[in-house]
Point group: C2
């Protein structure tokens, strides 16, 4: 072992070398880091005495306060020990070391559910306006109006909006939403039954955890929405796929020994991704099944505003007073996803537990944005924006159909429906699906493989084509590209 | 059964009565709702023929298009059927009704975990600045500067910020954070290892689900943070309480047969709620335990910026290159909770899975706020705000100690520490704790019972007193009130 005096000289030398390097850190910070590293690397052993602060300061050309600040910090952190009258020593900070330190970074072993969650994330890749599904026309946002409303509330915001609110969402927004949902969606509602969430996903999370335990069964549309699948899986629920036909989810097709559901997830207005509408008899039957099983229906009404040929289909939630339905809505489709606001309409008995659990698990926030949104709705801008977007999407859908016509003439099948923000193209095989998706990726065109929307593999092959976010020109170009690619790959060109 | 003609007259009469009531809905909407109700209530039976639209319009004094709009919607929804040439009939929409319709609203049976989540939410009650724990000084926010930065980015925001971003947070914010964490928190970091989340809770959610399966064990500080407890419980994890003493979490006190941890949750800089600092030997020991068990340490560094007497304690994460630590930070304490932004610093191997799972389970958003925050940090406002708040909280803590001095003189124990945003007062019994909390509730003073922070009951009695959000005057008043209440209830006055 080095003599104490030697060590002191060596410390000064080692530190001096560090100070020769350029840095934008403060001198005290640099001294702190340098000393700490010497200790952590074991180059300064426990018990070893530091030079006095006066000597260190002189040798390194630093102010004494600079040195003291660094040393005090290392004492506070436990790397150094001050012994009254005797000076400062390196502490015995490292306990028994039965695991050798290594410079390897830790490896990543995910949990089983974690690995499965990533499976559900496979469709989240690069995003391209043509044909990203579920993305609205971001080029058509009324940005000036929106900024004006945000500014208004940023200035006026009471301090409570910056705190942890626990009231379930800004009352003004819940009032405006309530009026809208009653009138436009035939939802049975009072403002007090609405819980504002940070997006629909957070609503699914709350439902899955407050109303179901691990191992409980949730009936899922097959094919269905990956976001809901990932959420329910991560909550430990057992998903039972229920086939979707032209009248929507068909619970009658389930075998008699299908697991009794605790939750039933459904997109009745415009099934995602197939685009069909759940028929009225099926709706009534589903409500009865929920009642019989004491289960809850999760009605995900993500894009119901966009029906071009008729008024929007009324929500299931409003069909019966005793409907066991939790209605889930989002502003991601009617305004923009980055806003991260959605909502639940809850039966009265669930309002209080959901509000409290949400405040605990997720916290509330973004009250300035909520206030701007409340005004946006109450002042009529929301209704006008929806009407404008409806016309826009009708036009964009027609444009996509026209661009794909050369392929449709040769047998490419396209989903029906004057509604929504996407179409589904059926293709003949999984191989063809894969080939088209790969070719699209190279061309910067997002073709979402339909087969990935199925819980049970293999799913039906096809392509989910979002047209809402793409400009008319992009639809023309990408649509023509797709028609050509399909004709080439099928040999029908 | 009524004759067809009678029925038609009766329909017109029933509808006419509805139109006598005042309403702000459109005429078509009112007709739609009125007809739908007659059908849903069974007053218009399946098969029954509607009067012609012409006759309905004339009888009700409505335009024919108004009537057609309502009828078309009911046809689209499946309540009515149009038979070519024969008119419009009520559809057979209700399937076999083996469960009678009732006007009862559904009851609320929570899942087992849901009920337990509510237990963890018990401390979330009414909030009062004196003494809400964990809330910063909302009266000291640099609101003008913050608004200016928000406006700047609202105007400039590219369309991609309104989409579903999947990049893990705005790069500029991650860069600014990285500089800050390296310098001020001694965190080993690159911008690419940071994942921006909607608050620290979302970070806990991701860790719990991606790195642990239901039934896996997580070691928890006892007493500890309710938000983390609720999250891990809801993720199905088994929580093992580890006693906290004056040197922090003491894993050496665990019995040899304690369940092997998959996760270890710890607040090393300033234990919540006790306020102690995890000693350096304990830190080193914990890092070794994590390595031995192949577990991950979750370092929740929620308020480490606020040390009044020395520089902040360096983060555990930076102690060793191979530290199995995920560092969790939040802007809720240094800026404001309603912002809902937090972050994780991940080991390189976990960056990609966490980014993808977050985009799938929670979605990203609020890029305008992220951009404002990036500038707020890069332009130095953040550092100045933290320094200002540090002085402020130092003053507020001193003020609280002074206000409580009459009780402390008579034996009320107060936690040590020149740090953080709260103090803990020990009280003699759970009965006294309860009596003080109840008295505080009546007086509009928030006394958070320490015993509720324990997983294993009964916990130690005490009061967690947040002083950061309360004005100096409020601290004087509420502190004096508390001292008096304590003196009275203990009979030491």
């Amino acid at each position: 072992m080095r003599q104490a005096n030697d060590t002191r000289l060596w410390i000064i030398e080692a530190l001096g070398m560090r100070f020769a390097e350029p840095s934008h850190e403060t001198l005290s910070q640099r001294l702190y880091v340098a000393l700490r590293e010497l200790i952590q690397q074991g180059r300064l052993a426990p018990g070893c005495a530091l030079p006095s602060s006066r000597r260190l300061a002189a040798a390194l050309g630093l102010g004494r306060n600079t040195v003291l600040t660094a040393i005090d910090r290392l004492i506070a952190e436990g790397f150094l020990l001050a012994r009254s009258g005797a000076g400062v020593f390196v502490a015995d900070w490292q306990p028994t070391r039965d695991v050798p330190d290594s410079s390897e970074t830790p490896s990543a072993r995910l949990s089983q559910r974690g690995a499965r969650i990533l499976d559900f994330s496979a469709t989240l890749g690069e995003r391209h306006a043509a044909f990203a599904p579920g993305v609205p026309a971001l080029d058509c946002l009324p940005r000036e109006r929106w900024q004006r409303l945000l500014r208004r509330h940023q200035q006026r915001a009471p301090a409570a909006w910056f705190d942890y609110p626990t009231e379930g969402g800004l009352p003004a927004l819940r009032e405006a939403l309530c009026d809208y949902l009653r009138l436009s969606r035939s939802v049975r509602c009072e403002a007090g039954r609405i819980l504002i969430t940070q997006g629909a996903q957070q609503g699914f999370e709350l439902i899955a955890r407050l109303l179901a335990d691990p191992g409980d069964s949730v009936w899922m549309e097959e094919p269905g929405y990956g976001g809901a699948q990932a959420c329910f899986h991560s909550a430990g629920l057992a998903m039972t796929p229920v086939p979707v036909d032209e009248a929507g989810m068909n619970v009658a097709s389930l075998p008699a020994n299908a697991p009794e559901p605790r939750l039933i997830y459904v997109t009745p207005s415009h099934q995602y991704p197939s685009g069909v509408t759940l028929s009225l008899p099926r709706r009534a039957a589903l409500l009865e099944r929920a009642k019989r099983h004491d289960a809850w229906i999760i009605e995900d009404d993500y894009d119901s505003e966009f029906r071009y040929a008729s008024a929007p289909i009324a929500a299931m939630q409003g069909l019966r007073e005793d409907a066991r339905v939790i209605y889930v809505g989002t502003f991601s489709k009617v305004l923009y996803p980055g806003m991260r606001l959605g909502y639940l309409v809850l039966p009265p008995a669930l309002v209080e537990p959901f509000r409290r659990a949400n405040a605990r698990l997720h916290r509330e926030g973004q009250y300035v944005i909520q206030a701007a949104l409340a005004d946006f709705m109450a002042e009529g801008h929301f209704g006008r924006h929806v009407a404008r977007m409806r016309e826009r999407y009708r036009g964009r859908q027609a444009r996509l159909r026209a661009a794909l016509a050369p392929a449709v003439e040769k047998g490419l099948s396209l989903s029906d429906g004057q509604a929504g923000m996407h179409l589904v193209a059926g293709v003949d095989s999984l191989e063809l699906e894969e080939a088209l998706v790969a070719r699209g990726r190279k061309a910067g065109i997002q073709l979402s493989p339909l087969s990935r929307f199925y819980l049970e593999t293999p799913g039906r092959p096809g392509l989910v084509l979002g047209y809402a976010a793409a400009s008319e020109e992009a639809i023309d170009t990408a649509g023509a590209w797709l028609a050509t690619a399909w004709l080439e790959l099928t040999g029908r060109g």
